[in-house]
């Protein structure tokens, strides 16, 4: 039995305080009407279902439990998620799952620009396509895209792993295509199953860091010459 909280009747502050005080249980959030910061900062094992679309930072810094948005989500959905699951049945705007450290974020529709920016361990599964600068500076975790990826995918990427089934408009600096080995097929299969999405892992291509930007390149002509090598004469 879920508890209904109607945002047409109570302010956002009251909703989030109820969710923060709860130790467990289910909650239905009614009439979100694009409100910002809905169900952010959840740190206990509650289940939240939002009946409609939300604005910025829904389920921000999510730590435990599940948040489902039955609609579209604005910028920064599940930003800095630590664990647990956040799902939106529609599309998500820019910076979905930004800097996420763990857990699972599922976007059944499309995601906008900078999906997975600076991700630090979260798993992201997008049923549709993602916009430009996806996984910019992505540090760790997995991004699975069933559709296409926009320009500059994985620019300045660290150790995150990107799987795209459709077309990639262009790869960003230091991001390269890599071989799909058996462990990667298994990883995609596991992530699709967790996200409850159907696709064939063999249809995906893998992208990751060429690791050419990890260190500054420093020349040292003087030392070369002093040691008797280098130079052309």
């Amino acid at each position: 039995m879920s508890t209904a909280i109607d945002l047409a009747e109570v302010p956002l502050r009251q909703l989030n305080q109820v969710l923060h005080n709860a130790e467990s249980g289910g909650f239905d959030v009614l009439n979100p009407r694009g409100a910002h910061a809905v169900a952010c900062g959840i740190a206990t094992d509650v289940t939240v279902e939002v009946a409609g679309s939300v604005g910025y930072y829904c389920a921000g810094m999510h730590q435990v439990g599940t948040v489902v948005v039955n609609g579209n989500s604005g910028p920064g959905l599940a930003e800095n998620i630590m664990s647990g699951t956040v799902r939106t049945t529609g599309s998500a705007s820019m910076s979905a799952a930004a800097t996420g450290c763990g857990g699972l974020v599922v976007i059944e529709g499309d995601a906008g620009a900078r999906c997975g920016i600076s991700m630090k361990g979260v798993d992201i599964v997008v049923g549709g396509s993602i916009g430009h600068m996806g996984a910019f500076m992505a540090q760790a975790g997995n991004l699975v895209v069933l559709g296409d990826a926009g320009a500059d995918l994985g620019d300045s990427i660290y150790e995150a792993v990107l799987y795209v089934r459709g077309e990639v408009e262009s790869l960003g600096t230091d991001c390269v295509e890599k071989e799909m080995r058996p462990e990667h097929l298994a990883a995609v299969e596991h992530l699709l199953e967790a996200a409850d999405m159907a696709a064939s892992p063999g249809d995906f291509r893998r992208y990751g860091s060429a690791r050419q930007m990890y260190s500054f390149h420093v020349d040292d002509i003087d030392t070369e010459l002093a040691e008797g090598h280098g130079g052309t004469r």
Partner: protein, 439 residues
């Protein structure tokens, strides 16, 4: 052969440092990265003087009459405002750039003096939380080590838009300081040359920031204040926008502000001096009717009680110190002069915080070097230094007849140079002339 010095006269444009830098660049192919702040000559608070009491103003007795120094940040908005006993705080400096011992020393010293210290680009450590009675948690573009549990146990949140050493630039930490612990806290491969993001990943302007601040307040159930830190670039507009976004305090960091590692060209050529930044920020606060309500924390090259008092007289509520705090706990200690010289520098000149080789054990992750800094002694030195800053500030405030340091005002000041008069908006000494506003 002539005996004059004509053939050894130094070029002003191409002096010995310039020539050395061109040769270094030609040898290595990489820009110079260093720590510390701007070293060039700049207009500073030294260009202002206090007028003191005279026929028309009564001074307070120097050792007897009360002169308050406390400041409250976030009153009326946060359930638990930050109460500072003195108008001086410790600026954000990361574990990673600093050793754990240095962070502990800063926490101990600040706590003993009744003020706050601040995390940095790399998350919160147990050492600093455990030894800081008031700890400000920085919320940075990189979000390295960002954790909602740490956010909830902070005494204030500081959204960092920029810093004085590099407005428009992100942090930097070179591979020699990315040890296993630092790498784990930041989710980075060990030993890489880390270049932090300079833009926040999930907001892009002041309207977004307003929503971001609401999210942060919601996550901590509106318990603690939210600051916004700006590198001094366009302080009038930036301060106004930070207020509009809902900040309880605005930190304005002038170009003398230090850094652990940044391109030299950034340190010396981006941003405006602290002297020029404070009056512009105050102008914005006054026009919005929130001066003294939204607190102004001024930073960048603050060294003495004179600097503190002048910053407050110009309208700041609090100042923040970084470089001076490191010096207080032992940075550039003459006792290590031989070792500084072995590194190609000397005590009093060393700036290579990026290098991880700090003989004083402060800007390093080397366990042997770090162990040289006794955090208890370092904390005592910082507490003493903070006490001197406070006593000096009170001395000047009493001389101007003020029963609280925040009662200092621009009318107490005169400028020694035309430039300082124009920047500070106070008369050139001996005249009634404020360039740009009076004839």
């Amino acid at each position: 052969m002539t005996s004059d010095t004509w053939h050894q006269r130094e070029s002003y444009s191409f002096d010995r440092n310039t020539i050395a830098e061109i040769r270094r660049a030609a040898n290595t192919g990489i820009y110079r990265i260093r720590g510390w702040g701007a070293k060039r000559v700049l207009p500073t608070l030294d260009d202002l003087v206090f007028l003191g009491a005279s026929m028309s103003r009564y001074p307070l007795e120097g050792y007897r009459e009360a002169c308050g120094t406390d400041v409250v940040i976030g009153e009326g908005r946060a359930e638990h405002p930050v109460h500072l006993d003195i108008p001086v705080t410790i600026a954000g400096m990361s574990f990673g750039s600093l050793s754990a011992q240095a962070k502990e020393a800063l926490g101990r010293g600040a706590s003993a003096a009744g003020t706050s210290t601040t995390t940095g680009d790399g998350g919160m450590t147990e050492e600093e939380r455990g030894h800081s009675t008031k700890l400000v948690y920085q919320y940075l573009p990189s979000r390295y080590g960002m954790n909602p549990d740490d956010l909830r146990r902070a005494d204030a949140i500081e959204v960092v838009v920029g810093q004085g050493a590099k407005p428009g630039g992100g942090g930097m930490l070179l591979g020699q300081k990315i040890t296993e612990r630092v790498a784990e806290m930041r989710t980075l491969p060990e030993g890489i040359d880390q270049r932090s993001a300079c833009r926040h990943p999930d907001w892009t302007g002041p309207d977004d920031l307003a929503i971001k601040i609401i999210e942060l307040r919601e996550i901590v159930d509106w318990r603690v204040p939210v600051y916004v830190k700006l590198g001094a670039a366009r302080p009038y507009y930036d301060t106004a926008l930070a207020v509009k976004a809902g900040a309880d305090a605005v930190v304005v960091d002038g170009m003398q502000g230090g850094t652990a590692a940044t391109q030299d060209v950034f340190i010396e050529h981006v941003g405006i001096p602290t002297l020029a930044a404070i009056p512009e920020a105050v102008r914005a606060l006054r026009e919005l009717g929130v001066h003294r309500e939204v607190k102004l924390i001024a930073a960048g090259g603050i060294r003495s009680g004179a600097d503190v008092a002048k910053a407050l007289a110009l309208g700041a509520d609090v100042v923040s110190i970084g470089t001076a705090a490191l010096i207080a706990i032992g940075d550039n200690d003459p006792a290590y002069d031989t070792e500084y010289r072995a590194l190609g520098s000397a005590a009093g000149f060393w700036e290579d915080y990026q290098d991880g080789t700090d003989p004083a054990g402060i800007t390093t992750q080397d366990p042997d070097l770090s162990a040289r800094l006794d955090p208890v002694i370092g904390g005592r030195r910082l507490a003493n230094y903070l006490q001197v800053l406070t006593l000096e500030t009170q001395t000047l405030a009493r001389a101007c007849g003020k029963s609280h340091v925040l009662n200092l005002e621009p009318e107490d000041l005169a400028a020694l140079t035309v430039e300082a008069a124009a920047m500070a908006g106070v008369p050139l000494a001996g005249t009634a002339w404020i360039p740009g506003t009076s004839s």
